[in-house]
Amino acid sequence: MRTLLLAGLVGFGLAAHAAQAQEGHAVPPPGGANPLARLLLMPDLSAIASFAAVLDGYEVGALSPRDGPQGPSGKLTFLFQELEVGLQAVIDPYARADVFISFTPAEVAVEEAYLTTLGLPAGLQLRAGRFFSPFGRLNPTHPHTWDFLDAPLARGRLLAAETLAGPGLDLSWLAPLPWFVEVHLAAQSTAPYGGEERLTGVGRVSQFFALSDATTLGLGLSAARRDEGTGAARDLAGVDLLVKVRPPAGRAYAKLEGELYTRRYRGAAVPTDGGDGWGAWAQLFWRQDAYLGYGVRWERAPAGGGAAPGTEQRWSAVGDWFLTEFQRVGLQVARSERPGGADGWEAVLHAGFILGAHGAHPF
């Protein structure tokens, strides 16, 4: 059917093109710039912009508070979400630097700015600066790399309002084993829900196994303890899973992934940003080809905001259209089920673009 349609369009185009061809139409070559400009010691510069149109069926901000695109109930709202500027380069023979500055309607903030060593011995690597904590699969990544258009509820309710991050040191080790085993130990100052920055220790072990030429299995375990003052602590734990099937020939793949987080307070009264609890998300994403992808996601998290105490569940479906490697349009529809039968629909239409030279995305 698609071929027939294409053939019809081509037939129509042939007639139009014949006249153009007779006129000897040609685009003159432009002149000017140096084709090797990228080699002249400039860092890789990139800007990633995200815009959205949202239509929510309930007051998301009050009943299901979270980071991410949202608007007043029943009103179509256009949002400028973020412009992320990236500067990335090897700065000397010993280290590379990655800097990401986020411009949002609310603030301008340094999301990440860190050095990474290039040549420590024994499989070690050190990051120093401000960085997203190496906790779980999603937390260390930037939103434009996600298959869905917002973060799972559990991340915002249990780890941090936006991203668990802060200044500090992250020492990692690639184990000398036939499969991928990476161990992170990080010490950072974090303020997951605003307020005072406090010392946080993070540990993570991630492993990847090649089950076949096409199938990769990833497993991760994460733990963090944040000092809450006067001998109290906030403990976080997480487990994450990835199964990706991508036959080597072609661009199509299927990816099943998910995470489970738990949070527990020790030794003091529970802070105002929530008590003990657990949450999880799981999603299946199918990239049909270079241009189209579809996914479904399930989430569970402690209910927040004005919702009755209990558990919030959410189901989402997303369709992504990648016009090129540098433009993406996505449509996500979600249904949230909150305690007391206060359910509601959400819809987000997202558009984003990348300009400049941006580093490769994580696996």
């Binding site: 369009l9 037939g11 129509f12 185009g13 084709p35 690639l174």
Partner: protein, 305 residues
């Protein structure tokens, strides 16, 4: 205690079995493509263990930055890549993740082949992505020309000699032998291709500039209106017109591309689609660089006959 020791011994044995077989090779060479791996094997023989990060059936622009590949890079003595931004979407994070300082760009264990040969398709004028996902420093598909492949093999030989001085003479001898064998084939291939010189063909992506430079075939254009962008119907229509006008008899496409657009243009213009392997290993008959070139030449000659 005894049982604990047994368990530990079993675990160590299992790890040893899981590890890739380490021959008595002096060096471990990792390449980004199967074509480069084949050249490295020709040069190094048993003195190096050679492995490619990508498969010949893969589009080398779009390999996943799978962390498992970083494990291969961790112990590499030499990383041979094409460069020219061919692997920019996946290689840099793997090199970083490998913690192997020697294979960083400019490091003693890094050889970037693209910079060692005469390059084609260097864009002139402003370079931005209105022109598609182009390669600003030149076309990276250099190994479709055996003359340039020999230059790359020579560079690999010299690099291996630097890293393993005891084997330098071996590498030089093997490279000389490979050169003789390839040049013998080259003369035969050129004789087969000579009648086709000047013939115009279409390609799916601009992957065969160096092949055309060697064979004298001419490019009439690409199915992709700009590198990395899908062909809209108007562009396909223009190609049909062009193919009829210029007498284009073939559309050559690598087997990792979707050929529906190629098939359509071929059907409407009377041309034929020639499907070729994208690299060594991209077809069961293309297990070595020579076999890959043999297959490429044979398919093109038969397709244009």
């Amino acid at each position: 205690m005894h049982s604990l020791r047994s368990i530990l011994a079993a675990a160590v044995a299992a790890l040893a079995l899981a590890a890739p077989a380490q021959a008595a090779a002096a060096l471990r060479v990792i390449t980004t493509t199967e074509g480069l791996a084949s050249l490295a094997r020709e040069v190094a023989g048993d003195r190096a263990q050679v492995e490619s990060l990508s498969r010949g059936v893969q589009d080398p622009h779009f390999v996943d930055a799978n962390p498992i590949l970083a494990v291969k890079l961790r112990a590499a003595d030499l990383l041979v890549d094409v460069g020219l931004d061919l692997e920019v979407g996946w290689l840099p994070p793997l090199v970083n993740q490998s913690r192997n300082a020697a294979i960083q760009p400019g490091g003693p264990g890094r050889l970037t082949a693209g910079g060692l040969v005469g390059l084609l398709d260097l864009p002139t004028g402003p370079v931005d992505r209105s022109r598609g996902d182009l390669h600003p420093a030149g076309n990276p598909h250099v190994l479709t020309d055996p003359r340039r492949a020999l230059q790359v093999a020579q560079a690999i030989s010299l690099k291996l000699g630097e890293l393993d001085p005891a084997g330098a003479a071996v590498y030089a001898d093997r490279t000389a032998g490979f050169t003789r064998r390839l040049q013998a084939d080259l003369a035969r291939w050129q004789a087969e291709l000579k009648p086709l010189a000047g013939r115009k063909v279409l390609t799916h992506h601009r992957t065969l500039s160096y092949f055309f430079d060697w064979t004298g075939l001419q490019s009439a254009g690409e199915l992709e209106p700009r590198p990395g962008t899908p062909p809209p119907p108007a562009h396909l229509a223009s190609l049909v017109t062009l193919a009829r006008r210029e007498g284009v008899k073939a559309i050559i496409t690598e087997n990792y591309y979707d050929t529906r657009s190629d098939d359509l243009v071929a059907r409407l213009s009377g041309a034929r689609v020639i499907v070729i392997p994208g690299d060594v290993g991209g077809d069961p008959q293309a297990r070595t660089y020579q076999a890959y070139l043999e297959l490429l030449v044979r398919r093109v000659v038969e397709g244009l006959r």
